[in-house]
Assembly symmetry: C2
Homo-oligomer: 145 residues x 2
DNA sequence: ATCCTTATCTTGAGTAATTCAAATTAAGGC
DNA sequence: GCCTTAATTTGAATTACTCAAGATAAGGAT
């Protein structure tokens, strides 16, 4: 496990340096947490990070998360009625399915192969770089209730 | 103009009653504002309403907007880095184009005829009722700068 | 037309998520 | 191992929104 840790740390440092960010303990810790998969609020990440790295501040976590999102190492999603969520950015273009009752969020692969909705019919002169699809529905558990 | 006002008021009352909501001055005022088109924050609506209808509270505006959104007379959108926006619900299924620099938001008609992305490839048992597409890009003004 | 019930609005306070700013600390090139 | 500058800590502030109790007004019944 110490071995694995070390390997990860080096990989994380590389990733950070590659995008021009300094490799700090806080950033590596946040990246490790996100790498576990799933969707995390800033507070969730803070709690998880605090276990490994005592004395980290919530503000630092906010700063790290937005830095990572800015350079594309993490993805920020902002669902209705929920604080912002962050996820480890895997290269795929996946979307989100959110339950309008309980707020649960699931990943769904991009509907038709790659980026079906990436081309807006009228782009108003915008240089479009991403398209995000959010499906709203009711999850099985809430339908039952 | 008094004539037009009267007509609008009656139409608005009908729309409200049709969905089982009481027709109040505040609700009609908010509906008139939204009918002007564009995207409005709760605060924007409040400012606009306050000119016609003195003594209206911001909380009332919040209440009216969520009531209207709930019955489908208005649509709520929640863009990144911006308070929630409301727009008059026209029946079309249009989407939004948001500038990642300045936050400006444009409407775009649904890309391929009707609801191209409405069908998620994996629905995880959810009953999906809407799909929302948000395009992220840079507006002409910000590209120039 | 007036009363009565209940939805809606007002007033005032409270909260959660996030941001700002000044001082301190630590990365990484020299 | 310095030195510059980015990043973090600490503490406070702000924004967007929600909650709750009492007052008001819609709209059906009388």
């Amino acid at each position: 496990m110490t071995e694995t840790q070390t390997v990860n740390q080096a990989q994380l440092s590389e990733q950070l340096n590659a995008v021009g960010l300094r490799s700090t303990a806080q950033r590596r810790a946040v990246m490790e947490v996100l790498a576990r998969g799933g969707h995390w609020t800033a507070a969730d990440v803070f709690d998880a990070v605090a276990q490994d790295l005592e004395g980290t501040s919530l503000q630092a976590v906010y700063g790290v998360l937005s830095a990572l999102a800015e350079v594309g190492l993490a993805r920020k999603i902002e669902p209705p009625n929920s604080p912002a969520l962050y996820e480890h950015r895997v290269g795929d273009n996946h979307h989100h399915l959110v339950c309008t009752e309980c707020g649960e969020i699931k990943d769904v692969p991009c509907a038709v192969g790659e980026a079906p909705c990436l081309t807006a019919s009228e782009h108003h002169g915008y240089a479009i770089h991403t398209a995000e699809v959010t499906y709203h529905g009711i999850c099985p558990a809430c339908r039952a209730a």
